[in-house]
Symmetry: C2
Subunit: 208 residues, 2 copies
Amino acid sequence: MELSRMTLKEFAKELASDSPAPGGGSVAALCGALGAALSVMVTNLTIGKEKYRDVWDEMGKVQREAKELQTRFLSLMEQDSEAFNTFFAAMKMPKETEEEKTLRTAKMQEGLKEAALVPLETLTACQLLAELAEKTARRGNGNAVTDAGTAALLARAAAMAAAYNVRINLGGIKDEAFVTTTRGEIEGALSRIEKTVSDVERHIESLL
Amino acid sequence: MELSRMTLKEFAKELASDSPAPGGGSVAALCGALGAALSVMVTNLTIGKEKYRDVWDEMGKVQREAKELQTRFLSLMEQDSEAFNTFFAAMKMPKETEEEKTLRTAKMQEGLKEAALVPLETLTACQLLAELAEKTARRGNGNAVTDAGTAALLARAAAMAAAYNVRINLGGIKDEAFVTTTRGEIEGALSRIEKTVSDVERHIESLL
């Protein structure tokens, strides 16, 4: 069953179960989707309000991007669980003969790469989320500034959780070039997101 | 409709709509519920595994607490939106006569207090979540350490978002004693949560 068709209650129950998927990776993507949805909400509370006429156009653009991002995060939530299940299936392949061992190892390596690439995409998407949250926090409806701030906080938490999921999978990957490149991408994205989210935090602190 | 009976997709859509509730406060509580569910999952992946026999009892206790916490957070998610709607209804009360004005102001003050107290309870619950996440991160199944870490990150994000929601409502409350006490509670809870979550982060960094 698609995760996004579960009710919140069902999803929490499925998450809590003794199956490792869905786990932290899917939750990270879901938090991204919630942050994107909050960003859309702030634009909805801004566009059409006379006081904010100057930013209607900008907020319209933010809204379109945030809507796309919401869809992308919900899809990443599904993909994360699927990638885990694919890896898990590879792990259970027969390993009696040399041929079977080789095939199993190859499939497991493929599975691990996929299980690293999905949360890496979540992490990248969190960077866009943080940027959109900053725009809504600074120029969106002031009554909704804490909602914009919540979106920024979610971008940070989702990014860090996604990074955990990339890194734990990198631990098992033998392709050193892939590991090195990916580690660099993680650090770069995390530091950009942290900078943006800290700026948003300071801005909100100055208002509360 | 109860929020927890919505599918993830429906909830995201409802969140993104131009209605201010559900907003950041409900999302904070939902993130708490997701963190609690992840903590339950880690205990489920620990109890029964021979390697972790020494901590089965402790993880059993964590599991019971995390399950209760999950239910509490899901209920806080509903309460947060209800509190907002109650305040909003008070704001729309008639204000023609002096009597009406007095009644409206009183109801709005009541509504604001409730709208501050619900996220304050979410914030307090995040402290327990952070503590449970620390236990599962340190002594739960090592394969699920990033899930435990994700629960800790969610405790921090949910706590900070809840604090935003308390503080924005405090801004409109005239009862100074209430405001001062509550501000103190926020600071105390946030700093305890930050300490616990930073410890968990360092622990996980040392493993990845």
